[in-house]
Every structure is written in structure tokens, then in C-alpha cells.
Amino acid sequence: MEINVELLLGTKVCDIDGEDVGRIEELRVERDGQSCLVEAYFIGASAVIQRLSAWTLVRPIRGILSTRRLYSAYQVPWQDMDLSDPRHPRLRIAKRDLRHAK
């Protein structure tokens, strides 16, 4: 099945229990010779910071952004993402089992 990546960005993701996880903001890919494989999806607000390459800007004011929520991103390996309905992506696991991105 073909999916347009640009339209996938910003769509909300639910976990296996239907709980809201966040929005897809970035895709980590690996170039392997001629092909380009998707390794992981990044979900959450600070994935946007990563995408804007704005860490140097945000790091000094890290203290102010004390709320963990604003400051966190989940890294979802490709195996854990179910994109069979691209408009409503679902995780194959529960939110509590997700790994925080560094």
C-alpha cells in the first residue's frame, strides 16, 4: 500500500487501547544502497524541535519547559506502528510500553 508521507505528518496516533499518544512529526530512515527504509516514527512536541533543528535554541531554556509533556517525544519502531488506515494510525502496543526518545 502507498502512503504519502507529507500527509501522514501531523496525524494523531492512538495506542492499542485507543488512548491518545500524540502526532507523527518525524520519520527516521536508513539509506541502504538504492533503497530507503523507515526505521522509526517520532511522536510528540519535541519531535518538532528536532525537526526544526532547534535544539541549540531550546536547550538553554530547558529549565523553563519543566513540564515533561511538552518536552517529550516517543520513538516508535516501525514494527509497532499499524498504518493500515493511514488517516488513523494505531500502535500495536500500549502507550506505557513506549520508549522516550533521547
Binding site: 533543528s53 532547534a54 541549540t56 535554541l57
Partner: protein, 404 residues
């Protein structure tokens, strides 16, 4: 040698982008109505501009990308589209105002009304873009623009009270007419911090093939060029304060502004003013049309360069051709260029956050700039400029709605 000549980019940016119908009109109005009291607004606008222009140049020299390129690349197409709508609309109005300024200068020189000049003037501007190279536009406009030094000569000859002028560099509140004072302050800032200038300068650095070795040159050019524009604009304000205030004249029209230097330089004052406005508005018209064409071409990834023959970058040339053609229409219908000018400045102020906010991100981007990222001083200045521009936007938008 090439680096020495690079100064012309600074001067053309300054003459065409800073000193144009908008800043002269507001400076003269401010001087006539409030004496030296609004000098601080020009100083503040110039200071912000020096930093923003320096950043635009540094960004291009280091990353080999323009600010527009990077805005699209970092923020994606949807955000870019929003900026595009706002910015292109405002630039278009500025272009109408500049073409009108050329028309008005020719009107006071010949007595033939400005609507008659709309078509010939637009044609000349288009032709210069069509046939000319970037270097020609750059050098031509900066040399012709030097005529504006007459503003400084006029101001000095009128023996200003330097102490009072220095006092005007600090913001204060006037006793009466607070509303008009505020409106003029907003317009002066809108006229000074004009985004088309940063886009133009950033593209110019690519056209002139700057690299990292230009960083010190760029700093020098941005500071000198924009200060040059700021000083000229302050001189216009001072001359207006000393010429119009004693006669009780409030300047509302171009015909009145034309009397700016007739007292200080009796013999040539009138013609120097007309020539100054003619050349600076011509420079600004070229700069604004180029800025619009650059904006589209860079945002959509078309080939662009003012130096290639038109068929080599057809879409780029097509954009400025259409824009210049459209800009002649309101003038043909006789819409007062001064009204367009005042409106475009308030709108510039209103759209400023859109144009300046990306700077904060781009100038701190390690991928584009590496070790040449902004330091805390530059970041503070950008943050303050964004803050000022938000306040300006909040003030300017209701003003527009209520038809001020």
C-alpha cells in the same frame, strides 16, 4: 577588490530598501508635526534592521541558502504558504507605492499627473529587470541613490539644535496629539524594518556568490549600509522639523514634501528632492519586484538569477512581469500613492512577526550555520524585534480595520 565592491550591495539595499517613499514620507510628516521627538523611532528601526540584515547576509554566505529557501525547508510548505500570502500582498502594495513615488516625482518636475506616468514607469522598471544584470541594478541604483546625501547637507545647513535632536533619540510622550504620535511611530518602524530588504539582501549575497570569507565584510556592509539609510532618514526628519514647523505646515501630500529643501538649499533644493525620490523609488521598485520574484522562485525551487537571459529562468521572469503589470493598474486608476504608502507601512508592521519569527530558528540552526550561529546578543535583538513587531501588529491591525 570584489569584497570592496560588495559595499554597493549594502548601499543599494539601503538606498532602495530603507530610504524610499515610505520612510521619507513618514520622516517628513513626523518632523513637521513633532519636531525632533520621533527621531528615536528611526534609531530603533535602524538598529533592528542592522542586525536582521547582517543575519540575512551571514546566513546566505555560510549556508549558501537564502532565508526564503530555509523558511520553506525548515517549516514546510503549509507554513511557507501562509508567509507567502502575507508577504507577497504587502510587497505588492509597497511596489505600487514605489511606482507611484516615481510618478509623483515626475509629476512635480513636469506638471503631468502621476496616472499618466504609470505605464511608462512600469515599463522602464520592467525593462531594467528584463535586460539588466544584478550588478547593473546594484551599482546603478547605489550611485544614483547618492543624491540623497543632499538631505544631510540640507539638515546641517539649517543649523539644527543638536542638543534637542539628541534628546529626540530617547522615546518620550508628547503633550498633545498622542494618537497621531503613536501612529507615526508605528509607521516609521514599519517603514524601517521592511522584510523585502532582508530577502533581497540575502538573495543578493547568493547572486554575488558570497562564501564564509565574506562574514566580516557582511558585518561591515550591513552596519554601514543601514546606518547610512538611517542617517539620511533622520536628516529628512530634522530638515522637515526646521522647514515646516516654523511655517505651521503639516505635511499630508507629496507636493508639500517637495518643499523640504527649498529653504536650506534655495537653488537646487527642489530638484534634489525630486531626483532623490525618483532614484530611491526606482531602486526600491526594482528591489521589491525582485524580492517578490525571488520569493516565488526560491520557495518553489525554480531556477532564479537576475543575470541569466529570461528564457533560462522563465518562471522567475514571468512572476516579475506579471507583478509589475498588475502594480500599474491601481496607479492608472488614480489611487493616491501616499495613501497606498501609509497603508502598506501599517500592513508591513502587521505582517512583520511572520517574516521575523523564522529568523530566530534559522539563525540558531547548527545544520545551516555550524559555528556561525547567533550569539546571545543577536538572539536577544531578534527576540526584541519579534516582540516589537507583535506589538506593532496588534496596533496596526485595528487601525487598518477602522480605516485609519
Amino acid at each position: 577588490m570584489k569584497k570592496v565592491l560588495a559595499i554597493t550591495l549594502g548601499i543599494v539595499t539601503s538606498v532602495g530598501g530603507f530610504l524610499e517613499i515610505g520612510s521619507v514620507t513618514t520622516a517628513v510628516q513626523a518632523g513637521a508635526a513633532f519636531g525632533y521627538q520621533l527621531l528615536w523611532a528611526i534609531l530603533l528601526g535602524t538598529a533592528c534592521l542592522v542586525f536582521l540584515v547582517e543575519m540575512s547576509g551571514r546566513f546566505s554566505a555560510v549556508s549558501r541558502h537564502t532565508i526564503v529557501d530555509a523558511t520553506r525547508e525548515r517549516f514546510g510548505f503549509p507554513f511557507f504558504a501562509i508567509v507567502m500570502v502575507g508577504v507577497v500582498l504587502v510587497f505588492f502594495m509597497v511596489l505600487v507605492a514605489e511606482l507611484g513615488g516615481i510618478g509623483l516625482s515626475l509629476q512635480i518636475l513636469t506638471g503631468i499627473g502621476f496616472p499618466w506616468w504609470a505605464v511608462p514607469v512600469s515599463f522602464v522598471v520592467w525593462f531594467l529587470m528584463w535586460k539588466g544584470t544584478f550588478g547593473l541594478i546594484e551599482n546603478g541604483a547605489s550611485i544614483l541613490g547618492l543624491v540623497t546625501i543632499s538631505f544631510v547637507v540640507a539638515a546641517v545647513k539649517l543649523n539644527p539644535d543638536w542638543g534637542a535632536a539628541a534628546h529626540g533619540l530617547l522615546p518620550g510622550m508628547p503633550g498633545t496629539d498622542k494618537a497621531k504620535y503613536g501612529f507615526l511611530a508605528v509607521s516609521i518602524l514599519g517603514a524601517s524594518i521592511s522584510p523585502h530588504l532582508m530577502y533581497f539582501y540575502s538573495s543578493g549575497a547568493i547572486e554575488d556568490e558570497w562564501d564564509k570569507s565574506y562574514i566580516p565584510v557582511n558585518r561591515f556592509i550591513a552596519t554601514l549600509g543601514m546606518t547610512f539609510g538611517g542617517v539620511l532618514s533622520m536628516a529628512a526628519l530634522v530638515a522637515a522639523a526646521l522647514t515646516f514647523q516654523p511655517n505651521g505646515v503639516e505635511v499630508d501630500t507629496f507636493e508639500q514634501s517637495a518643499l523640504l529643501m527649498t529653504t536650506a538649499l534655495p537653488k537646487w533644493g527642489f530638484f534634489l528632492f525630486a531626483a532623490s525620490m525618483l532614484f530611491t523609488c526606482l531602486g526600491a521598485a526594482l528591489e521589491t519586484s525582485l524580492a517578490i520574484a525571488y520569493f516565488f522562485a526560491q520557495g518553489f525551487g525554480w531556477s532564479w538569477s537576475e543575470d541569466l537571459t529570461p528564457s533560462k529562468n522563465a518562471r522567475f521572469c514571468f512572476v516579475y512581469t506579471i507583478i509589475i503589470l498588475l502594480a500599474a493598474v491601481p496607479l492608472l486608476m488614480g489611487i493616491d500613492p501616499i495613501k497606498v504608502t501609509l497603508m502598506s507601512m501599517a500592513l508591513t508592521a502587521a505582517t512583520l512577526p511572520l517574516a521575523v519569527a523564522p529568523f530566530l530558528f534559522l539563525m540558531n540552526d547548527p545544520i545551516y550555520l555550524g559555528e556561525h550561529r547567533n550569539g546571545w546578543i543577536s538572539n536577544t535583538v531578534v527576540a526584541i524585534t519579534i516582540l516589537i513587531s507583535f506589538v506593532l501588529a496588534l496596533i496596526a491591525i485595528p487601525l487598518q480595520i477602522l480605516g485609519g
